[in-house]
Amino acid sequence: MSATPAPTSLREGGDPALSQAVDLSHRPRPGEKVIRALLAACGVMSILTTAGIVLTLAFEAFEFFREVPVWSFVTGTNWSALIEPKAYGVLPLVSGTLMIGVLSAIVGVPLGVSTAIYLREYASPRVRNRLKPTLEVLAGIPTVVLGYFALTFVTETVLRPLFGDRIDFYNGLSAGLVVGIMIVPIIASVSEDAMAAVPRSLREGAFGLGASRMTTSLRVVLPAAMSGIAASVVLGLSRAVGETMIVAIAAGSSPRLTANPLRSIQTLTGYIVQASLGDTPQTSLEYKGVFAVGLVLFLMTLALNVASIRLVRKFRQAY
């Protein structure tokens, strides 16, 4: 997570003059240079990956935008790439994605933050040592299984009896709820890190003034860790926006501009899956459209990730 360099590594260890003085071996070591270069090449791979992502998306999206004007893509309110009459307005997909983001935040933020407060401020070491690994293990449940759960259990057993006919078989609500559960471990873990960075003296000061544990948590620790908690929320949102299988299985494939979570919707990721399941030829506009949609998704999550990384840096420097 952190990008701060370690205080104790070779490159900073000790007095430079001294390490020069004790470097008695002047034997040239070509092998050392080769190894160093190989290791550096591994590091550069990450840059190549990013370049690969950007170029692939940009290249195919550029082809797409030669046929569909960017402006009508960005402002169009009708998306119908796979059935006639074709329309390429991305707003319904963006609105579906945002709906999932909002629903998952409504579920994930309170659960995640309360889990973090409990683990950090209340739980005894014994409880924490059980609860935390359990949460970490369960965070490994694959999203395709979560999607199946959203469709068969959450929609069928929980939501249908509640809403009856008003809720579609595929709907935004069940997908949003389950995506919210999915992001709880991420939010809890980053928030807990942020709260762990709050110095003990602040808590003891509050206790010394007669504050209860609750007052200390809510009025002292929470505000002090706010930038880190905000970072965890933004990171959770980014995961929710990029989440694919849960929405592809449970949210449906009807791109529509609606604020009603009971209806079937489609997200950016959902469209990419739908188009990939069929066999779209490489030259078709649908195929290129997948990359244009991917570009929008990439830019959205990039903005959220950059915001989250910035916020994390801010709280790391605070104390």
Binding site: C42, P142, F149
Partner: protein, 292 residues
């Protein structure tokens, strides 16, 4: 910011204590809700699918008939993917981590690589799928083969391996390196014979977690075009393939109830493998947590 406490409140702190106790219960409820829901999920899937788990389920191929369909091809596909993926990811990831942690000068280039890795860790997996489709399947003309899938998954989990390995290397104190170099070891020798062995448990933990992520990934493989009917054993890196998560999706989106049962049965298999790997990694981390 803080509530001002009047002397009366200090004396009769009973209300405060009651509130505090109530708050504790609210938090505990929040902390356990997620776990409870996920346990419901596991129970639901076991109830749906446990009846379908039989030896034949692992040895037969996919079929148009739910009663005969099995997990053989996706099981082998997943094994191939994981084998290739670990061979590709571990050296690259650990190499990059060693470079950044032990050799890299702290300059703009290094910071660029570091920020870039942090960003890559947050790129949605389906975007990696698009990269794989554009670069490996179409660009290098590999087609929808095991190798293309493994390359894509490798790039996807590489940031996780790098970040975890760096943390493991960072936990090894500088005195170990200084000691080795004081005895005349070169930097690489110090890393190779002292630092790396000490960091191995942490590196392994990160690698297992990364691989378990790769096993569960569905979206990037679907984007590659691996959603196909496979009723033969994949025998090498250039065969077409399917994988367990893809097969789960394929069965889950069919309307017939019987296919949902085998989707649940396959989910049980996937969950056992994944939760087992995660639990092992977390156990490994706690077991070898070392105070220097």
């Amino acid at each position: 910011m803080a509530t001002r406490l009047s002397p009366t409140e200090l004396r009769c702190s009973d209300t405060l204590r009651t509130k505090d106790r109530a708050f504790r219960w609210v938090l505990l409820a929040g902390a356990t809700t997620t776990i409870a829901i996920l346990l419901v999920l596991v129970a639901d899937i076991v109830r749906d699918g446990a009846g379908r788990l039989s030896p034949e389920f692992f040895t037969s191929y996919a079929s148009r008939f739910a009663s005969r369909a099995g997990l053989r091809a996706p099981l082998l596909g997943t094994l191939w993917l994981m084998g290739l993926c670990s061979v590709l990811t571990v050296p690259l990831g650990v190499g990059a981590a060693i470079y950044l942690e032990e050799f890299a000068p702290s300059n703009r280039w290094t910071r660029l690589i570091e920020t870039n890795i942090a960003n890559l860790a947050g790129v949605p997996s389906i975007v990696y799928g698009l990269l794989g489709l554009g670069l490996f399947v179409r660009g290098l003309n590999l087609g929808k083969v095991v190798l293309a899938g493994a390359l894509t998954l490798s790039l996807l989990v590489l940031p996780i391996v790098i970040i975890a390995s760096r943390e493991a290397l960072r936990a090894v104190p500088g005195a170990i390196r200084d000691g080795a170099m004081a005895l005349g070891a070169t930097r690489w020798q110090a890393v190779r014979y002292e630092v790396l062995p000490a960091a191995i448990p942490g590196v392994m933990t990160g690698t297992i977690l990364a691989l378990s992520r790769a096993i569960g990934e569905t979206a990037p493989l679907i984007t590659l075009g691996a959603f196909t009917f496979v009723a033969f054993d994949p025998r090498g890196p250039f065969d077409t393939f399917t994988a367990i998560p893809i097969q789960i999706l394929g069965w889950a989106i069919r309307p017939q109830e019987a296919f949902h049962e085998i989707a649940a049965a396959a989910s049980i298999v996937l969950l056992v493998v994944l939760l087992g790997m995660n639990a092992f990694a977390i156990w490994l981390r706690n077991r070898y947590r070392r105070e220097w």
